[in-house]
Amino acid sequence: MIATAAPTSTKVVRGVTLHGEPAREAIFNVVSTDAEMAEWPGMSDESRRERLHRHMNNECVAMEIASQAVADFPDAPWDLRMSIARQAADESRHVEILYRRLLELGGRKGEFPVSNYEWSVTGMIDNLPGRLAIENRTFEAGLIDILGQLKTTWREAGDDRTADALEAILADEITHVRFANRWIKLLTERDPRVLLRVAQAIRYLRAVNAALAPEVGSVNAVGVTLTEEKVQPPAVNVSGRLEAGFTEEEVLEVLRQAGFRSIIPEQLRTT
């Protein structure tokens, strides 16, 4: 028997039904699409603050997703609940790290629009293996790729403090993906129907992505045109994904989807 938990509220965006927003202070402008965000290319002072602000909110969403999973699935194996509870605490720490850095750079919460996209998608999945597949194995694995790239971007921009913070966050995210990979495998071995739930969750995510994907040529809230490069998936962090428990075949598949753009693993760089 796979326990289920229905969403408590919903919203419809571009014809897709998503989970309603988590609680936010009125100071935040919560939006639903990329076009409503205020992202700038490059590393201007404003762009740096916006990047930190966006990342801070995304970590907050990850904390909320993990917390909701702890609340929604009381009958899940205790050791899995422990891992999710730990994840909630890790994400809490990430929010605080990024919030402090934002303040140090002269920013403030609510300075830019935020999107709770991952919450809106994951909250519609009524079972724990499906949520782990979406949040940990997909979104957080994507974050491994993004952070692999971003820490270099910040360092090259002369901000070692932020780069160091991102490196620490990356190590935690690898752990979150790893435990999800391990548990999905274990739960599937115990009950093959779990695989069906995971496949349904991934199918839902694909449908949402197809409906909400940013369109090349569209203009965002600060007048920046979304380019082909911007909508491309990030370079794949091969070593990070392997550490997180993905098989070589799975990493290869992600590489194919990313057009074989990858961050070269450290062990290969030194040879």
């Binding site: 609680a23 909701q68 009381p74 205790w78 605490a89 929010v95």
Partner: protein, 186 residues
């Protein structure tokens, strides 16, 4: 007279029940609490309660009950917990957690240490001592939060809940002794 093995398992298991209840309550509150700084503290403390529950749950098995045995407390205590979980105002959530629930839990841990045999039940004692050591830090973090967000400092519900908890002295639903009529009929 000190607690026997069965009573120790019941008490440790009940303390685990309370820790799991707290973990789940904080987990429910994180997405429904608007203030960012409050979310951060609550999110961090989910893990603290999870670790407390984990240690207690492993001990129950050593005390000849099931692994992670977590019997519900007495009805009056459960009623307080349910009312606590239903709070919606952030100041009340923070106030009741850090000024009522956690100090009360600390008092119940202290009462357990006073009631058990510290030598015969040393593993429980160590677990309880470790859990207790976390509680002042958690309260201190809530103080920092309330200093940063002074509007969260005043909770009308906290003092009332602390009084009700203090009045609820019997919180463990002990199983009937082995071989008793009640146990044979169960």
């Amino acid at each position: 007279m000190t607690l026997n093995v069965r009573e120790r398992a019941d008490t440790i298991g009940t303390l685990r029940h309370i820790s799991v209840f707290a973990m789940e309550t904080l987990a429910r509150w994180v997405p429904t609490t608007p203030e960012l700084e409050a979310k951060i503290v609550l999110g961090r403390h989910i893990w603290e309660f999870a670790q407390h529950a984990d240690g207690l749950g492993r001990r129950t098995h050593e005390l000849r009950a099931a692994m992670h045995y977590s019997p519900a407390p007495t009805d009056p205590y459960v009623a307080i917990l349910e009312e606590w979980r239903a709070l919606t105002a952030t100041a009340d959530r923070i106030g009741t957690l850090y000024d009522a629930i956690i100090p009360d839990l600390d008092a119940r841990y202290a009462a357990y240490l006073a009631a058990t045999d510290v030598f015969l039940d040393e593993p429980s004692v160590r677990i309880v001592e470790r859990n207790r050591a976390d509680l002042p830090r958690m309260i201190e973090e809530s103080r920092a939060l309330r200093k940063e967000r002074p509007e969260l400092a005043a909770s009308p519900a906290a003092a009332a809940m602390a009084r009700r908890l203090a009045a609820c002295t019997e919180y463990v639903s002990f199983r009937a002794p082995v071989g008793s009529t009640a146990e044979r009929l169960a």
